[in-house]
């Protein structure tokens, strides 16, 4: 493998593994605030205990998120030095702001939230929970603003040495791309966390233990997941799709597997891109749907891959196509499942419906897969650029770090993260086995 491929795999592997944790952190932070709010308003100890249970899982998850997050900041310099040299003056702003405005907030008040419940008045403890939530969502904002600038660079100029110079701070922070991408991403985090909560509740109900908590977790989880799953589709998914259609039309064509320009372009539900023959094999098409969703006109023209120069195509069209389709497919299935769960909840039958509880319990990995597929779509869709239209990925890696050295550290991270993943699963399953009431200690 050449050095560039290894640098790309290095970042892809570490960021994919890392983001398994912050998505639960951010979603769970919101759900913990919800539980704490109910507890504060009703004075019901049950909800305080429920919040405490999720805080224990939050703490384990947060720790893994923190330790796997540090390598992300470092890798901009270690593996992507030429990119950092050129663009650091711009994206360094948002990355530094993340440190100053969110990491300090999160870390200061997480300690207080986890260890301070006995010493703080209930409202102060609620504030601590809220500030942890705020810190984690701010952190998400600064990362999305950074990524949005790489997807759709704005507010910059080119300096004397070819470096990218920040010209408008407001442009960077209020980049039009950020809005939908941020909302889409954060809603996705809520989907992951609420499925995790509902699945845990379903497990307790199916295992016939901690029944009160089981019902609370299923109820809160299903309601939140239902709202969030719908918001994923519309308006956030729709808005993000339009970002891509307007600013990265070649990416849209690759995601949809559209090789030829069409008036009234269809959406492919199934089919495999065949790059040799430049067509979709055994496609299952919805006629005109892509034109309508993108431009609100059934016969609108959507440009196909062949109308763009080959060197600007995303360099892995099939993988991009599959990740996008997996994301959208799973998102649709979530809405279908949750419609059933909502109906049963409304009729008062959910807690005793074993098939629906089984579905909830087994659903827990799928939001993680959907989120990962979504980010794979965003990052592969940006290729072959590291900063869209400005700097190619091949020009961004560290030239002075050889393939051998990068492979050494990639293997090191793989081993290290395998251990981390096993430890995480071990500790979280212990917490779930122990249960919220602590009766099964």
């Amino acid at each position: 493998m050449d050095a560039l491929t290894i640098h790309r795999l290095h970042f892809a592997f570490t960021v994919t593994f890392h983001y398994l944790f912050p998505q639960l952190t951010m979603g769970l932070a919101l759900l913990i605030v919800v539980l704490k709010t109910i507890a504060l308003r009703t004075g019901d100890e049950h909800y305080h205990t429920a919040a405490r249970f999720w805080a224990r899982i939050f703490a384990i998850n947060f720790a893994v998120g923190v330790v796997t997050g540090i390598p992300m900041e470092f890798q901009f310099g270690t593996n992507w030095a030429r990119f950092s040299k050129a663009a650091g003056g711009v994206i360094g702003q948002t990355l530094a702001m993340e440190g100053v405005f969110s990491f300090f907030l999160e870390s200061s008040f997480l300690g207080l939230f986890l260890y301070g419940e006995k010493r703080l008045p209930p409202f102060a403890h609620w504030i601590a929970a809220f500030l942890v939530f705020l810190g984690s969502w701010l952190s998400g904002f600064f990362i999305i603003a950074t990524n949005a600038w790489m997807q759709h660079p704005v507010g910059y100029g080119i300096g004397q040495n070819g470096e990218i110079v920040l010209m408008s701070f407001a442009g960077l922070i209020f980049n039009g791309w950020t809005f939908w991408q941020y909302l889409h991403n954060m809603t996705g985090a809520v989907v992951t966390a609420s499925f995790a909560m509902a699945a845990t509740g379903a497990y307790y109900l199916l295992a016939d233990r901690d029944l009160d908590f089981g019902r609370t977790f299923v109820r809160v989880g299903v309601v939140a997941a239902g709202i969030a799953s719908c918001l994923m589709l519309y308006p956030t998914g729709d808005g993000q799709g339009r970002n891509i259609a307007y600013h990265q039309p070649v990416t849209l064509a690759a995601m949809e597997g559209l090789f030829e320009t069409e008036h009234g372009a269809p959406i492919a539900i199934l089919g495999q891109p065949d790059m040799e023959r430049q067509r979709l094999d055994n496609p299952l098409l919805v006629p005109n749907a892509l034109s309508f969703l993108t431009y609100q006109r059934w016969k609108a023209t959507v440009r196909g891959l062949n109308s763009f120069p080959r060197e600007n195509w995303p360099d892995n069209v099939p993988l991009l196509y599959y990740s996008y389709h997996i994301m959208v497919g799973l998102g649709t299935i979530f809405i279908a499942i949750l419609a059933l769960e909502w109906l049963a909840l409304w009729r008062g039958r959910l807690y005793s419906s074993r098939p629906l509880l089984w579905i909830l319990m087994l659903s827990v990995p799928f939001p993680y897969i959907a989120t990962t597929a979504g980010w794979t779509t965003a990052e592969l869709g940006r290729q072959p650029w590291v900063v869209y239209g400005l700097m190619r990925t091949a020009q961004g890696s560290s030239q002075n770090v050889s393939a051998g050295n990068a492979l050494f550290t990639l293997i090191g991270f793989m081993g290290m993260y395998l251990v981390l993943g096993i430890l995480f699963l071990f500790l979280v399953s212990r917490e779930i086995a122990r249960g919220p009431s602590g009766e099964h200690a």
Binding site: G77, T78, N79, I91, A96
Partner: protein, 334 residues
């Protein structure tokens, strides 16, 4: 003017990192020696438990600030120091989970395992951080496009062919190890009681003698291998306040007790780091042999618009951070 201001801001953030995370690294270095059983080790961990994570954030915030204010320095040094930085990352990961995961399982096998990981990763991190600073003082073989790549070691001599580890950077690493061990011991002595406190005070006392010796050795070696330090101290005599601060800190560490001894150690660390920063200024990464390729605040900094707008959010941001730290250290559970 702006690049100089950001130079001192980044230096101050790194000093805050060393003074704050330094005490929990130091606690990690000494805890196997001063805490004999599980209850005593828990006492040491409780002395850092609620704040260590916030302390480590200073490293990330300083890194982010360095990234946006001096992008050329960030990209050049991070890729050039590739191998040691990756090792630092692995150590930070191991250390973070050692602290956070230790108390989740009650078992006579689980606790000692993580105690050992905590001690080993803390000690190695102190050595690597010291060696990193040593590398910056010594300089690196920068080429004309501001790139370099250092192997972990070569022949251990200070030259253009030096690796990350040579006799000088090893000396710097060892000094950092002893300095942070003393720093951590003073913090633990300040925050704990009875047997652990007495042993921590003893450890600090023993480390102090070694630290005085190493400080003298390292200082003379530094002036020997980096001529720019000599020039800076000659040209700007006010810079002598920093070494004087370090000496006053050393004296205070030996005489004071409790909080004041710990604060003296903070003064020592800050004085040493500020001496290095003032001595290297305006260079941020000197080149060995070929002074013209050195990175300075002038050829490594971001645009003046970026640096100006940065102040607009950095100053209120830091006021908030100060507020959090005052609040959380006040509510530190005893």
């Amino acid at each position: 003017m702006l690049p100089a201001l950001w130079f001192w801001i980044v230096a101050a953030m790194l000093a805050a990192y060393v003074a704050l995370d330094g005490f929990d690294l130091g606690a990690g270095i000494i805890h196997l020696m001063i805490a004999r059983d599980d209850a005593e080790r828990r006492q040491v961990l409780n002395a850092i438990g609620p704040v260590w994570d916030g302390n480590e954030v200073w490293l990330l915030a300083a890194g982010g600030t360095l990234y946006f204010a001096f992008p050329v320095l960030y990209s050049s040094s991070f890729s050039g120091f590739y191998l040691p930085l990756m090792i630092v990352l692995w150590l930070l990961i191991l250390r973070g989970i050692a602290i956070e995961f230790r108390n989740h399982v009650e078992s006579p096998v689980w606790h000692p395992l993580w105690d050992l990981v905590f001690a080993a990763s803390s000690g190695l991190l102190a050595i690597f951080f010291g060696a990193a600073l040593g590398n910056v003082v010594r300089g690196v073989p920068l080429d004309t496009s501001a790139e370099f790549f250092l192997p972990l070691w070569t022949d251990f001599r200070v030259s253009r062919d030096a690796g990350i580890l040579d006799w000088y950077t090893i000396l710097a690493g060892f000094t950092a190890f002893v300095a942070l061990a003393a720093h951590g011991a003073l913090w633990v002595a300040f925050k704990t009681k009875d047997a652990v406190q007495a042993r921590a005070e003893g450890a600090a006392k023993r480390a102090w003698w070694l630290l005085v010796l190493l400080t003298v050795l390292l200082t003379s070696a530094s002036f020997g291998i980096q001529p720019h330090l000599v020039e800076s101290f000659r040209a700007y005599p006010w810079v002598y306040v920093f070494p004087l601060l370090a000496i006053a800190g050393l004296a205070g560490m030996a005489r004071a007790r409790g909080r004041n001894a710990f604060l003296s150690s903070c003064a020592y660390l800050t004085g040493m780091l500020a001496s290095v920063a003032a001595g290297l200024f305006p260079y941020v990464l000197p080149s060995i042999g070929d002074a013209a390729s050195s990175l300075s605040i002038y050829n490594a900094s971001a645009s003046s618009y970026g640096l100006t707008i940065g102040l607009a959010w950095f100053i209120p941001g830091m006021l908030l951070v100060t507020g959090y730290f005052v609040y959380t250290y006040r509510h530190f559970p005893d």
